[in-house]
């Protein structure tokens, strides 16, 4: 079950009102490599991971991604909260405003609404963990693009924190991929594990192992 803690994971201290920057940062709210896609990706993958520690990692990183989603929403909100009609009219945020006003509605920087088609999950732990590692690198690249386009030091501090988290998640997923691979391809499975042997066998057939 999810609980709400009345904090953010990292402070959001925006220097100035900046609807143009808000329009760009929406990329990480509702974009393909954004925080919503990341959270949904991991939280749906956790059900079938063959190791309990992999289920833990997906639950924990999935939860952290939801915390990042609310950080991004907070940045976008604070950048437009006090914007005048004139400031909005003269910025790329105007296209967003026409439909959603100041609501941090999840679409990407080009206005494409969030869709689950942005990410994937296969019930195949090896394919999924590779997908996750690629996703973390793509998110890191997006944060670097955003930091290069932003002159707001407050926003950049928060974006730098989020960029670093992508690097850490990539590292943890890589470690877990090693563990899961060792486990799947080893003959020494734990006796008390609740395994889907049918699926494991199918994987072994596919990879030609054992």
């Amino acid at each position: 079950m999810f609980l709400y803690q009345k904090t953010l994971q990292f402070p959001v201290k925006v220097e100035t009102t900046n609807p143009a920057l808000a329009a760009l940062i929406l990329e990480q709210l509702g974009g393909a490599d954004g925080e919503m896609a990341a959270g949904m990706r991991y939280l749906t993958q956790r059900y079938y991971m063959p190791l309990p520690e992999a289920r833990a990692l997906l639950t924990d990183i999935g939860t952290e991604e939801l915390s990042h989603w609310e950080i991004i929403a907070t940045i976008v909100w604070k950048l437009v909260e006090h914007a005048t009609d004139e400031q909005i009219k003269n910025s790329p945020y105007a296209q967003h405003f026409a439909n959603h006003g100041r609501n941090p509605f999840p679409h990407n920087a080009a206005g494409v609404p969030f869709t689950a088609a942005f990410f994937n999950a296969k019930t195949d732990p090896i394919a999924d963990l590779h997908e996750n590692m690629a996703a973390e690198q793509k998110a890191r690249a997006t944060y670097e693009h955003l930091i290069r386009m932003s002159n707001d030091r407050g926003v950049n501090q928060t974006l730098s924190f989020l960029r670093e988290r992508e690097v850490v998640h990539f590292q943890r997923f890589g470690e877990m991929l090693d563990k899961v691979q060792d486990y799947i391809y080893s003959k020494h499975r734990r006796r008390d594990d609740n395994l889907d042997y049918h699926r494991i066998r199918q994987e072994h057939d596919r990879y030609g192992m054992r």
């Binding site: 904090t7 994971q9 402070p11 990692l57 924990d60």
Partner: protein, 82 residues
Amino acid sequence: MTRYNKDFEELMALQFAIVELNLFLDTHPDDEQALRDYNRLVEQFEMAKKAYTEKYGPLVNFGYGKSKHPWQWVNEPWPWDR
């Protein structure tokens, strides 16, 4: 300009350190040093949460902190208002 304060930022810092160690322990469950650090920070976090809740009201919804009268959950600035 912002409504962040020392109590609040300290709580956030502890929470973050704990998240980081939690993820590390997920892939290094045998690391005793990391586990010691985790448990030490959880103790500090427990104390900080208790003090914060006493001063400002519940930090987590659904029964994870008591409130004084009137219902304090609705009072404090929400994180996006700070």
